[in-house]
Amino acid sequence: MVKEASLTQSNGVGRYGKFGGQFVPETLMTALIELEEAYDGAMADSTFVDEVNYYLKDYVGRENPLYFAEKLTKSAGGAKIYLKREDLNHTGAHKINNSLGQALLAVRMGKKKIVAETGAGQHGVATATACALFGLDCVIFMGAEDIRRQELNVFRMELLGAKVVSVNKGAATLKDAVNEALRYWVANVEDTHYILGSALGPHPFPKIVRDFQRVIGVETRRQIMEKEERLPDAIVACIGGGSNAIGMFHPFLDDEDVALYGVEAAGSGIETGLHAAAIADGKEGVLHGAYMYVLQDDDGFIQEAHSISAGLDYPAVGPEHCHLHDIGRVKYTSVTDAGALEGLQLLARTEGIIPALESAHAVKFAVELAKDMAKEEILVICLSGRGDKDVQTVRNALGGGLND
């Protein structure tokens, strides 16, 4: 296969071990170079950083709580479980952290138009929100299948003034929406910024998205020190492209006693082939500008991902996660559609919190993990979003009723 040496030695930038890079059409290269320069300049400018922090606080509602889930802890019967409440952010998920930051960056770069892709619609809603706030034109590409699954989010984006374009190619889900957003960006690169919604894509996107999501882990660290005067023993986050997880994990990477777990979507089960678990079942390859683990066939054609949760329905995992897997710093595991539905119902019943289906994958795995941990141990779940958007999907999946 690909010679490892040739990948790490290529003079490409933005590598995490052998993963990452900039595998994009030449038309985008200049925009990526400009973006990196603008981003580095912005982050070195304290007025920019202060501005991002101002909006995160007064507009998004940060910092959000690190909540001790006492009832869930009792029900699991093991480690103390805390929830990092990204679901309480304005617009209902962690996605706004990134959309706001990148929208402010676009304003700073003098770009008045924004393009984005969305799966669950959460990133689309967050981006449409940031564009409304800063007066930017906004076009969102969304797979027709996801539009069907997340009808209300489409209307939310439209209410916020965004134009939602339906993508009918392929399986008409997130991967196809990214393809269209990239094509649109290539054609409009001179006045348009692409707000990519996860820690994916060509450099510098994985880094930018990670940095804007790091606030999750930074706050969690401070909050757990306040509450428990020590770091947690384990942290669990779900993995679509990997933005909530990398934002949560990154400030803990050097704390080797903190075990980190990323939960991929196992769909109908890894063995069925109908899943979105690229680390579990993918092979190294290039998709959407980065070298990653990708679900693909023997001819190098990218396969469709399958998950009940539109936000995890992507056939690859961001490059930094691929590297963290290779070096063994983060353990990657997976939870099926059925498991996520159980996790969602469990959290709803025990704590009165309906999580997003994406986050429910993390809940399900975390509860199993907590059972095997001692009562003094501490586990944090990144509750990346709330479940309002998924109520219809969950009702359909449960056959219109509840499995009491």
Binding site: G12, E26, M29, T30
Partner: protein
């Protein structure tokens, strides 16, 4: 490097005061058995070289016409591997240079060294990989040394002058100059500054410069062709072959 078969074929055109004409076809659109027929037809019609597109699941640099042709080819089970095998079977009848255009991932899955070897066996003279910019090109360039196969770089309207210099300095075969910001496809108009852009490009490039993306009518072949050393025509050729309108193909070649 300049003695590569591909560069020579284009330079021969230039010496004859003609413009190079390189059609793009989607391999196995309407079935793999059409490949030989279409290549021999184009050779007979007098094209300079042929760019053979490999279908891909996620062709982000392509517009609707080529996307749809790719979907048809994929539905016929066309892959990089079976295209190279098919080409090897009638290799001896082909006298003009052949260029493969594929996205990177199928090559990675194939294995870079095995792919290059099989390209050699199939008579491939050049590679165009739209998602392999200069920064990442060492990945293939090192393995191509000594193969006689050119790694053809793309230059876009957004590439600034110093970048154009770096890209063309490593140029092999020819420079693929993208004539629009955007994806492949049919277009009505082009940027007014195109003439100046091509002047600058030709001034620095050690290899011929061909224009491509959006060139779809005989008139555009003539006007854009006048600026460059030749043209690449994709969507219009793909569409004409799909409609079985061989006259339209010839009209473009003879433009």
């Amino acid at each position: 490097m300049t003695d590569m078969k591909l560069t020579k074929a284009i330079n021969d055109c230039i010496e004859r005061r003609e413009k190079a004409f390189v059609p793009y076809i989607m391999a196995g659109d309407d079935g793999l058995e059409t490949l030989k027929k279409n290549i021999l037809f184009l050779q007979e019609a007098g094209v300079t070289a042929i760019e053979i597109g490999i279908p891909f699941s996620d062709p982000v640099a392509d517009g609707p016409v080529i996307q749809e042709a790719g979907e048809r080819a994929l539905a016929h089970g066309v892959t990089l591997r079976n295209v190279l095998k098919e080409l090897a079977s009638f290799n001896k009848e082909v006298t003009i240079p052949l260029v493969i255009m594929t996205y990177l991932n199928p090559i990675l899955r194939y294995g870079i060294d095995e792919f290059i070897k099989d390209c050699g066996d199939s008579g491939i003279d050049g590679l165009i990989i739209p998602d392999l910019p200069l920064e990442e090109s060492a990945l293939l360039r090192d393995s191509l040394v000594g193969s006689g196969i050119a790694l053809i770089p793309l230059v876009s309207l957004t590439s600034p002058p110093d970048r154009i210099r770096k890209i063309t300095a490593k140029g092999e075969g020819f420079i693929y100059a993208v004539t629009v910001n955007g994806i492949t496809g049919v277009r009505d108009g082009f940027d007014d500054d195109l003439a100046a852009h091509f002047e600058r490009l030709k001034a620095v490039s050690p290899v011929p410069v061909l224009a491509g993306f959006g060139i779809s009518t005989p008139e555009q072949v003539r006007t854009i062709g006048a600026l460059a050393d030749g043209v690449i025509v994709g969507s219009a050729i793909v569409d004409a072959f799909h409609r079985k309108d061989l006259q339209a193909v010839e009209a473009l070649v003879k433009a």
